[in-house]
Amino acid sequence: MSLTLINVLAAVIIAIAFVAANAAYLVWAERKGAGFIQRRPGPTENGPWGLLQPPVDGIKLMTKQLLIPGGVDKIIFVIAPVLAMFPSIVSFVTIPFSDTIVAHNINIGLLMIFVFGSMSAMAILMGGWSSRNKYSMISSVRAVSQAVAYEIPMLITAITVVMIAGSLDLMEIVHKQSGGFWHWNIWPFQKGLFNILMPASFLIFFICSLAETNRAPFDLGEAESELVAGYHTEYSSMGFGLFFMGEYANIVIGACLTTILFLGGWDCPFGLFPGVWWFIVKIYILIFTFIWIRWTFPRTTIYSLLNLSWKVLIPISLFNLLLTAGLLKVF
């Protein structure tokens, strides 16, 4: 009994540590990546290649004063950043990194991740609303309409994959794709079905995870040239830090989910040495793509963003769902 408790505690601590380390070093990677794209060195001052920059930043953020502006809704204002970080940590508990490395696998893992994923939109709404700042309010309203718009195609695409795998268990979904890259869900010829829309589904899922994590070109929530800093305009110190880390943790989750659902999880592309390293390689390739996109594209506007979701992504993903269902019935 106590052993289970220790197991769970260890799992949670490892999850928190993984999320925090990832979030911190993704900031470093982002800055280095931006530097690489912009022909400049990026952080270099602290440690070799600036590798000590994240802890230094963390110390700076933690030692700053936590300002609570007058007139804000205090309780919500304080809860919001915690709520931004908390779901991402919990989501990691159920993400399988390999056959053995998973904190706690549950058979409805995918559902759980989506449940907690939608909580981050609420954190943004709470943060923006309670700030008593017009920019924050506009930003949070934007972020929520964006989250609502993009959760739908994301879920529909996920359901398509779930139908193919026949399970909500993330382990199971990966197992169904094992045995080389041609078995991955991204390809059209899965299980004798010839669903040519699967690559499109992958793209839709990827775009949605960009939008869900408020990344450029969909970073309308914190569009700093329009809304100053969006929902975290009024936050300082670790309040801001938690929002920031939450964003990066969400990126990792987005990359993990994309990998699990479409890229075969820890499965090796050539059927050799499956293991956690493949998973890591895949998620970091995806994360680099996130960074790459962010530093290359300008931002869209809220209406073209919503148009893209409601008029393009949702119809295509719905059609794909029907097609997959039909093909499953036929074959």
Partner: protein
């Protein structure tokens, strides 16, 4: 026309954009009455860094006033100095050696490119793309280095003197400039590939912020704003001054009147400026850079004088009223962004806030120049 903002019923709220806001690039404030994300009404408030340059002119002699000109528009300071020295030279009948005029044209055009590069980077940054700024500043750095070697300053140049220049250019400058022209041509190609044809950018700019030619006339908009609205007006062409008639260059004009048209006008202007620089270097005559005979104290005969030049942002006009004294009786600076920005209030009504800020970026504002 900016009308007093009347509080509307509870449907609208007032959003105070600025004086400190990332998109205004300086201390500009726009009081926007918003209907959700749409702008119902806007009132621009300027004057936060008003320094009363015109009063300063009345208390200084003509040469003493030279440094003030580069504090107006810190991005294309050369053109403003050029306007001022041309105005005084014309009125005081000071001869300018040909070599000096050529060097003036070359440096002004280089400064125009550097000014447009800053605009390019900042504008794309307003739209949320960060990387072009770094590339643009990298190219601009080359210009600043070249100009620093010749003029002694990197931003607020005080290079032109009445009748000539402060310093002659050397071979290093000429070679460096030729190298820069080559480099810049390559960079421009890259910018077009990377930014101009970007789908998101085109969607953000096309059809956004329409400014009609009629509106330009009512507000007196000049420069790329007018040229983006199908008005073929460039002071260098319409009212040739200095040695510009000697150069072969085109004035890019687009009829759409949207932000994308203004974007393309500026991008092409950089190419045309490169052509001017190249021709200027080819034709650069030998000779003195300062006139042999120059009056010791500059005094303008009584009367009033008007001179306009094409600065980075449009037609910069300078009106000097003289009573024959050592300093002007009255000096009026007509700044182009002042007129260009004025049409923002009318044009941005009904726009999304994101589009309005993109539109504001396409007007290419330099606040110290508006506030003077």
């Amino acid at each position: 026309m900016s009308e007093p903002i009347v509080l509307q019923p509870d449907e609208t709220f007032i959003l105070n954009v600025g004086p400190q806001h990332p998109a205004t690039h300086g201390v500009l404030r726009v009081k926007m009455t918003m209907d959700g994300e749409y702008i119902y009404n806007a009132e621009t408030v300027i004057g936060y860094i008003h320094r009363m340059h015109e009063k300063m002119a009345e208390n200084r002699t003509y040469p003493q006033y030279l440094p003030n000109l580069s504090r107006l528009d810190y991005l294309s300071a050369m053109a403003y100095c050029h306007g001022y020295v041309l105005a005084v030279e014309k009125a005081a009948a000071v001869e300018v050696p040909e070599r000096a005029e050529y060097i003036r044209a070359i440096t002004v055009e280089m400064n125009r490119i550097s000014s447009h590069l800053v605009w390019f980077g900042a504008f794309v940054m307003d739209l949320g793309g960060f990387s072009p700024l770094m590339y643009a500043f990298d190219d601009r750095e080359q210009i600043l280095d070249l100009l620093e070697a010749v003029t002694g300053s990197r931003l607020t140049y005080c290079y032109f003197r009445f009748g000539g220049l402060y310093n002659d250019v050397d071979d290093d400058f000429i070679e460096g400039t030729r190298r820069f022209v080559k480099r810049m041509r390559k960079s421009l190609k890259m910018y077009h590939k990377l930014v101009t044809t970007n789908v998101i950018l085109m969607k953000r700019l096309m059809g956004i912020g329409p400014v009609s030619a009629e509106m330009c006339q009512r507000y007196g908009a000049t420069g790329p704003v007018a040229r983006g609205s199908g008005i073929n007006y460039d002071v260098r062409r319409n009212e040739p001054y200095s040695v510009y008639p000697e150069f072969d260059f085109d004035i890019p004009v687009y009829n759409e009147g949207d932000s994308y048209a203004r974007y393309k006008v500026r991008m092409e202007e950089m190419e045309q400026s490169l052509r001017i620089i190249e021709q200027g270097l080819d034709k650069l005559p030998d000779g003195p850079i300062n006139p042999e005979k120059k009056p010791k104290t500059i005094k303008l005969p009584p009367g009033d004088y008007y001179t306009a030049v094409e600065a980075g942002r449009g037609s910069f006009g300078i009106r000097i009223v003289s009573n024959g004294d050592k300093s002007p009786y009255r000096l009026k600076l007509r700044s182009p962004t002042y007129s260009n920005m004025h049409l923002f209030d009318e044009a941005c009504r009904g726009m999304l806030i994101a589009d309005a800020l993109a539109f504001m970026g396409s007007l290419d504002l330099v606040i110290p120049e508006m506030d003077r």
